[in-house]
């Protein structure tokens, strides 16, 4: 089957040759959000930090594995990825800073603040990864006038 045949193009667009970045990113995001919800449900009172740390560690692990798996994709359009991801990072760092601010305003400190801050960092890194990946995987333009789906480089 030729590289430009509809079946190959359909496989590419479905991300068959890419790691499951979106699914893993959503899993990492879900884990860190559960950690945040757990902390928020207890604050400003004392919070047993074990579950939050475990969730944060799991989220960070999934995120790191996801980023590593993506970094090993040959020919991935990194220029496009970083072109989008850096602005998304700026936006979600700002959002995370606003959330951090409201907790600081209410005198959250010590270990809960550290776990919360690390959770926000993982959150702020995950979203640019998801947005950058979704944009970059479709970076390859379709052949002129073909109307065929574009896909990530194999």
């Amino acid at each position: 089957m030729s590289a430009s045949s509809p079946q190959v193009e359909r496989d590419r667009i479905d991300g068959v040759r890419l790691p499951p970045v979106t699914a893993l990113g959503m899993l990492s995001l879900a884990l860190v959000l559960v950690a945040g919800i757990y902390l928020s449900a207890h604050l400003p009172k004392h919070v047993p930090l074990g579950p939050a740390i475990a969730l944060l560690a799991a989220s960070a692990l999934v995120f790191t594995g996801n980023a590593l798996a993506l970094s090993r994709v040959d020919g991935f359009p990194w220029r496009r990825f970083f072109g989008v991801a850096r602005w998304a990072l700026l936006a979600y760092a700002t959002i995370s800073a606003m959330i951090e601010y409201v907790f600081l305003r209410n005198h959250t400190g010590g270990s809960p603040l550290i776990v919360l801050t690390l959770s926000l960092i993982v959150f702020a890194l995950n979203v640019p990864l998801l947005i950058g990946f979704t944009v970059a995987r479709y970076d390859q333009p379709a052949p002129a006038g073909s109307g065929a789906p574009a896909g990530p480089p194999s």
């Binding site: 990113g25 400003p44 990946f133």
Partner: protein, 206 residues
Amino acid sequence: MAQAVVSTPGGTIGDGPAAVIERPDFQIVPRAGLPIVAVVLGLLVAGVAVDKLWPLIFLHVVGGAAWTIIDLFLGFVLGPIMGQLSIPARVEFTTRLMPKMVLIMPTVVTVTLVAGWQLSTFLGTNLTGNPLHGWVVASFIVVGVMAVIALGLLEPANIAVLTELKKPQPNPAVIERLMKRFIYTAGATGLMQIATLVIMTKLSAG
């Protein structure tokens, strides 16, 4: 306004001869809106710093109302309409609506969450002993589910559609695929907003 073209196979993706659709020029992130976002975030910082009831209620209710209504309207009214539009109409509508959503949604969500936390601290509803604490935690869970859907699927699809449409030769199949994702996830977050309405009305009723 500058125009560009999108080649589509006769209006239906997958068969027929290619047709050409005009699309308006646009910015993925409308720069004119950035000062407005800065002002809104400045008001949020001031509202939290002042820590008075009225500014916090104002920020939380305005942000929350905008978030809920936009999600419901997009999920149940605009989404299905977009799905039925012709491809040229959908492309034109998308290039006018979605860049605004790139700025509006993160801003209203941030205002709602930050002001909401400060408001619940002010009212004491985030204390574990408060009788409404369970409802507050329920709202965190609903927001968490919506955040995973919106940040994992909806927002990336939105940006990717706009990026594709900015290309000299956008690929209609990619746009179609991402638009479907956008419309379905908008419907899912719209459904979750019904839960938000139940929780928030319960919290305000006491």
